[in-house]
Symmetry: C2
Subunit: 242 residues, 2 copies
């Protein structure tokens, strides 16, 4: 299995060069090395990774399917932007699937998981002063990942992961713009943990998890008082679930 050892040691090294390229490009996108709007030129990436254009092409198409890049025939691919409307759609979808995943996962969350989640949430709480949006967002993801990762339905779980990946493009998340929201978020996390620990029914947990995310979305929308009609419509829809 002696891989060509071309600077591969951290993340990729996934046997296939396609997967290798996929992992590499994906990482650079979420790391911010390829900022939104950046053009992804096949030949350049191929040369950079030491492979041909064919695997790179396939990787790009996979990333397109995940919504991380946009593609245009005979023009090329660019890193998917943070268009407010798109952000809104993504958050709404995520609230839906993450709520369900959390509810389905709840019965399978053990005491150890709960303890870990609580620890992460406390770390978030201690992070509130001397606020660092990026770090907070990262902890936020860790927290929720613990709660939904046991979801027995792989399709739903996959959708949750995709949603988080898309949001990873803008690493700052909502909390950069609306720091106040961070405070509420920590409290809602505690509430969610209590529900799970008490064995609340799935519907209640789903509702709480969904509302938690919808509230974050609303906080965002309130600050950027909607720039489009579409935003308003979707906002109203999100509210309806409150």
């Amino acid at each position: 299995m002696a891989e060509p050892a071309t600077t591969v040691d951290d993340a990729p090294a996934a046997g296939s060069k396609s997967q290798q390229a996929y992992g590499a490009v994906k990482q650079r996108i979420v790391d911010g090395a390829y900022p939104p709007g950046h053009r992804l030129v096949l030949a350049a990436i191929a040369q950079d990774l030491g492979v041909s254009v064919v695997p790179v092409r396939e990787a790009i198409r996979r990333l397109e399917a995940e919504g991380l890049v946009t593609f245009q025939r005979n023009v090329g691919a660019t890193v998917a932007g943070i268009d407010p409307t798109e952000y809104l759609y993504t958050m709404q979808t995520l609230s839906l699937v993450e709520g369900a995943a959390t509810a389905l996962s709840a019965p399978l969350v053990g005491a150890g998981d709960l303890a870990r989640a609580r620890a992460v949430n406390e770390e978030m709480r201690s992070c509130l002063q001397d606020f660092d949006p990026v770090r907070f967002t990262r902890l936020n993801q860790d927290f929720h990942a613990i709660l939904f990762e046991h979801c027995p339905n792989p399709h739903i779980l996959d959708l949750v992961h995709r949603g988080w990946n898309r949001l990873a493009s803008l690493r700052s998340s909502t909390f950069r713009f609306v720091p106040e929201r961070a405070h509420e978020s920590v409290e809602e996390h505690a509430h969610l943990l209590a529900l799970i620990e008490d064995g609340a029914d799935a519907d209640t947990i789903e509702r709480a998890a969904r509302l938690h995310r919808s509230a974050t979305l609303d906080a965002y929308l309130t600050h950027f008082s909607a720039s489009e009609a579409a935003s308003e419509a979707a906002s109203a829809a999100a509210h309806d679930h409150g």
Copy 2:
């Protein structure tokens, strides 16, 4: 803008050979020409379509991302099967996203849409005697499509389409095995239409739409009294939402 004006009636001829291959293979899968489990050999398909293997490969990977085919490195692709567990997961996911899509779509459903939906439902009702599962399933899809197609969130709408596509592999659907369910289904459709017409709130509509699908799933599970532990777990989860 100004699409090549192709967009021909059915599916293929989409400018790019990749898209052409994608459309062609997809159609053969949903048509049943490529039955579940059928091996998809790149070279064979390429020759059949008069193109090279590269576009076909890309098409296959896209179909893989949609869950219509399964892929194994250095082995090849096969049409995704109807593994009961997989069916269960798909239905559960579909109940989630279709419920949300229907609720979000409801305020945008006009009188004309309602009339069409009602007409389709009546056609289904008249279809109950002299029962044809395939035809009934098709009408069922038409009915629901009218209700969720106005969903303003393209991501959610796309997820609904993907779910339906996966189910299209087994064209007979649940109704082949549980004809009794067809009767209830028509009644629930009427109820759903009434809710939408009365302008019920989004949560109520989402609940009704989700429950409608969950009930179909349960009917299936009751007949094939679960063959696996996983099935039971997911079934219980689905019930929790009732």
